[in-house]
C-alpha cells in the first residue's frame, strides 16, 4: 500500500498542526507540508506534488475556492482537493466542488472521519459522504439556474450505457454498487467511469455528479 501524501492549507496554525498530528498518526497517510494561505497552497502543490490537499475555504488573500481552481485546473493534474469548512454546507462548499474539489469535510470531524475522507478522496472510486454530497449538489445546482447549453451538448457524446452510469454516479453509488445494479463486473464499471470522465473532460466522480445535476441529466428528487 502506497502512502497518501497530504498537504494542509489553513491560515490558522493550530488547525494545521492539529490535522498534521492526527493524520500522521494514521497508517498510510503522511503530511508532507503545510500552507498558510491560498497562494502558498498553490506554490506548495507545485513543489511537493501531494496526493491530497486539505483546503480551508476561508483564507485571507487567495481563498480556498480560487486556490482549488488553480490547483485542479491544469490538464493532467492528479492532486485531489478536500475542502474544510467551519460552518456548514452552503453554496461556498458547492462553489468549491464546482471549482474542482473532490469532497468536503467539517473541521470538527473526528480523526477517524478525517482519515477516511482522505483515503476515499485519494482512491477516487466513491463519492465522499454520498448522501450529503448528493443533497448539496442537488440543492445548489438547482439554484444556479437553467442547464448550460454547451454542457448539455457534451452529454450527447456519451453512449446510452455511459449516460446510465453517469446518473448512477450522481446518485452517490460506488463502482461496486453500480456493478451490482447493472449486473456487470466492477472492472467494466471502472472502464465506463474513466471513459465518461475522459469524454466530458472531468477530473473525478464528484465533478461528474456536479455535471450530471447541472445539465439536468439527473433531477433532484423530492425538491
Amino acid at each position: 500500500m502506497t502512502t497518501i501524501r497530504v498537504l494542509i492549507a489553513d491560515d490558522q496554525m493550530m488547525v494545521r498542526q492539529g490535522f498534521t498530528v492526527l493524520l500522521n498518526a494514521e497508517p498510510g497517510i503522511e503530511v508532507v507540508g503545510q500552507a498558510v494561505d491560498g497562494l502558498d497552497a498553490v506554490a506548495k502543490v507545485a513543489e511537493l506534488d501531494p496526493d491530497v490537499v486539505l483546503m480551508d475555504i476561508r483564507m485571507p488573500g487567495l481563498g480556498g475556492i480560487e486556490a482549488t481552481r488553480l490547483i485542479t485546473e491544469p490538464a493532467g493534474a492528479t492532486v485531489k482537493v478536500l475542502v474544510l469548512t467551519t460552518f456548514d454546507l452552503d453554496e461556498y462548499v458547492y462553489e468549491a466542488l464546482r471549482a474542482g474539489a473532490s469532497g468536503f469535510l467539517l473541521k470538527d470531524a473526528s480523526a477517524a472521519e478525517l482519515a477516511q475522507a482522505v483515503r476515499v478522496v485519494a482512491d477516487g472510486d466513491a463519492l465522499l459522504a454520498p448522501n450529503i454530497t448528493k443533497r448539496l449538489i442537488a440543492e445548489f445546482s438547482r439554484m444556479s439556474g437553467a442547464p448550460r447549453a454547451p454542457l448539455k451538448e457534451r452529454v450527447g457524446d456519451l453512449t446510452e450505457r455511459e449516460t446510465e452510469v453517469l446518473s448512477l454516479i450522481a446518485q452517490g453509488l460506488s463502482n461496486a454498487e453500480i456493478a451490482k445494479r447493472l449486473v456487470v463486473a466492477e472492472q467494466t464499471v471502472k472502464t465506463h467511469v474513466s471513459r465518461i470522465l475522459l469524454k466530458l473532460g472531468l477530473r473525478d466522480r464528484t465533478q461528474a455528479a456536479v455535471f450530471a445535476y447541472e445539465t439536468g441529466l439527473v433531477r433532484p428528487a423530492g425538491y
Binding site: D11, Q12, M14, V15, Q17, G18, F19, V21, L22, A25, I57, R58, M59, P60, G63, T86, F87, D88, D90, Y92, L106, K107, D108, S110, A111
Partner: protein
C-alpha cells in the same frame, strides 16, 4: 314589539352621548402645531365679534323685542359668552345659545315694528358661529343632530308665533346654519384625515427605524457567532490532538479530552443552528457569509475601494499594536468600513485619514474626511452605517463620537476597550 323601544333607547343613548357626555376631539395632532396652538390668537377676533354681536343683540332683545334692558343684556351676554366658550366647550355653548334663542322667542309678546323672528339678527350670527365650531369639533352625527335641533326649535317658535308684527327669517337662517355646519364638518374631516396620515407616517418611520436596528443587530450577532464557531472548531481539533502529544496518556486524560471535544462539537451544532436562523433572516447574508471575518490587518483591501471611488486615503498607526480579541478587531474593521463607505457616499473627492491608535486600554479608531470637492449625489438608504457603529461600540463598552469638523468635513471616533466590560470580579475573592 320589543325592538322598537330598544331602538328608541339606543337612539336616546346615542343622543345623550353626542349632546351631553362626549368630549370634543382635540383637533390638532398633539405633536404637530395646529389649530389648538392658534386658539389664543383666534380668540381675539372672536371676542371682538362676540362684543359687537352683544351690542346688536342687546338692542334687539331690549328694544325690538321689548324685553327690558336687564333681561336683554342677560340674554345677549349669555349668547356672546357662549360664542367664545364654544371654542373650548362647543356642546354646552350650543345648548346655551339654543336655549337663549328659544326663551327670547317665547318671551316676545309685542314689538314696536316688524322684527326678525325667531332669530334676531345677532342671534342668528351667534347660532351660526356656534354651529360652525360644533361641527369643527365633534363627529358628524352629533353636529347634524345639533343642527336639526336648532332648526326645529326655531320652527317650533314660529308655530307658536306671538300676535305681533314680525317677519320670519327661518328661510334665511336654516340655510345659513346648514352651510356653517357643512363648512365646519368639511374642515374637521380634512384635519382628521391629516392627523391620521401623520400618525401613520410616524408609525411607519418608527417601524422602519426598529427594523433597521434589528437588522443591524442581527448582522452583528451573526458575525460574532461566526467568530465563536471558529474558535469552537479549533477547540474540537485541539482536544483531539492533545492525546497524541503525550506518551501513554492516562485514561482520565483521554476521557477528559474526549469530553472537551464532545462539548465543543455539541456547541458547534447549536451554533450552526443559530447561524442558520440568523442568516435566513438576513438579506445581505448571501454576499458576506463566506469571507473570513476581517481584522484591522485587512484595512488595505478597503482602501483600494476608496481610492477607486476617487478619494485619497492616508493611514496612520500609533502605539504598539497589541493583540485584540476577534470581536474588537472585527468591530474596529467594520467601523472603519462604514465610515469609509459614508465618506464615499457623502464626500466625493475628499481626503480621508484613518488613524488607528493602540493603547494599553484599547484601540482608538478615528476616521476624518475633508469637505467634498463637489456636491454629493443624494443617496437613498442611509442611516444603517451610524447605527451599526453605535451598536458595535456599545456592545464592547466603548465610546463613539461622530460629527462635522470645522472645515466642513466629517469625523468618526471610536474608542474600543481591549477588555470587554465583563461582570466585575470581586478582588476579595482572591485574597484569603
Amino acid at each position: 314589539m320589543t325592538k322598537w323601544p330598544k331602538g328608541i333607547r339606543a337612539a336616546a343613548r346615542a343622543l345623550r352621548e353626542d349632546l351631553w357626555t362626549a368630549a370634543p376631539d382635540p383637533l390638532s395632532h398633539p405633536r404637530r402645531p395646529g389649530w389648538l396652538e392658534w386658539r389664543p390668537a383666534l380668540a381675539v377676533p372672536l371676542v371682538l365679534a362676540a362684543g359687537m354681536l352683544m351690542i346688536l343683540n342687546t338692542n334687539d332683545y331690549a328694544f325690538d323685542y321689548q324685553l327690558g334692558t336687564d333681561f336683554g343684556l342677560l340674554l345677549a351676554g349669555v349668547q356672546s359668552v357662549a360664542l367664545v366658550v364654544a371654542m373650548y366647550r362647543p356642546i354646552p355653548a350650543w345648548w346655551a345659545t339654543t336655549l337663549v334663542t328659544f326663551v327670547a322667542a317665547r318671551s316676545l309678546t309685542d314689538s314696536r315694528f316688524p322684527t326678525p323672528f325667531p332669530w334676531t339678527a345677532g342671534g342668528l350670527g351667534v347660532q351660526a358661529g356656534v354651529l360652525f365650531l360644533v361641527a369643527l369639533r365633534v363627529r358628524l352625527r352629533a353636529s347634524v343632530t345639533v343642527l336639526v335641533i336648532s332648526s326645529l326649535s326655531g320652527l317650533v317658535c314660529l308655530m307658536h308665533a306671538p300676535q305681533t308684527s314680525y317677519y320670519q327669517n327661518a328661510d334665511v337662517a336654516i340655510p345659513v346654519f346648514v352651510a356653517a355646519t357643512a363648512i365646519g364638518a368639511a374642515l374637521r374631516g380634512r384635519a382628521v384625515a391629516r392627523t391620521r396620515l401623520v400618525e401613520q407616517e410616524e408609525l411607519t418611520a418608527e417601524e422602519r427605524a426598529r427594523r433597521t436596528l434589528l437588522e443591524e443587530r442581527n448582522r452583528i450577532a451573526r458575525e460574532l457567532h461566526d467568530v465563536v464557531a471558529h474558535h469552537m472548531s479549533v477547540i474540537s481539533i485541539q482536544a483531539q490532538v492533545a492525546p497524541h502529544l503525550v506518551e501513554n496518556p492516562s485514561e482520565e486524560l483521554k476521557e477528559n479530552l474526549a469530553g472537551i471535544r464532545e462539548n465543543a462539537v455539541e456547541a458547534l451544532t447549536e451554533l450552526r443552528q443559530v447561524l442558520g436562523v440568523l442568516r435566513s433572516e438576513d438579506p445581505l447574508s448571501g454576499t458576506v457569509r463566506h469571507a473570513p471575518q476581517p481584522t484591522l490587518d485587512r484595512l488595505d483591501d478597503l482602501f483600494g475601494n476608496v481610492r477607486g471611488a476617487g478619494l485619497t486615503v492616508t493611514r496612520r498607526t500609533s502605539g504598539e499594536p497589541l493583540p485584540l480579541s476577534p470581536g474588537v478587531e472585527l468591530s474596529a474593521f467594520r467601523i472603519v468600513q462604514e465610515a469609509l463607505s459614508n465618506a464615499i457616499r457623502h464626500a466625493p473627492g475628499a481626503e480621508v485619514r484613518v488613524e488607528i491608535g493602540y493603547r494599553p486600554a484599547g484601540v482608538t479608531v478615528r476616521i476624518t474626511n475633508t469637505a467634498p470637492d463637489r456636491p454629493a449625489p443624494a443617496s437613498p438608504g442611509a442611516g444603517h452605517g451610524l447605527l451599526g457603529m453605535r451598536e458595535r461600540t456599545a456592545m464592547l463598552g466603548g465610546e463613539l463620537a461622530t460629527g462635522p469638523t470645522p472645515d466642513g468635513g466629517w469625523e468618526v471616533t471610536a474608542l474600543l476597550p481591549a477588555q470587554p466590560p465583563a461582570a466585575p470580579t470581586d478582588p476579595a475573592e482572591d485574597t484569603p
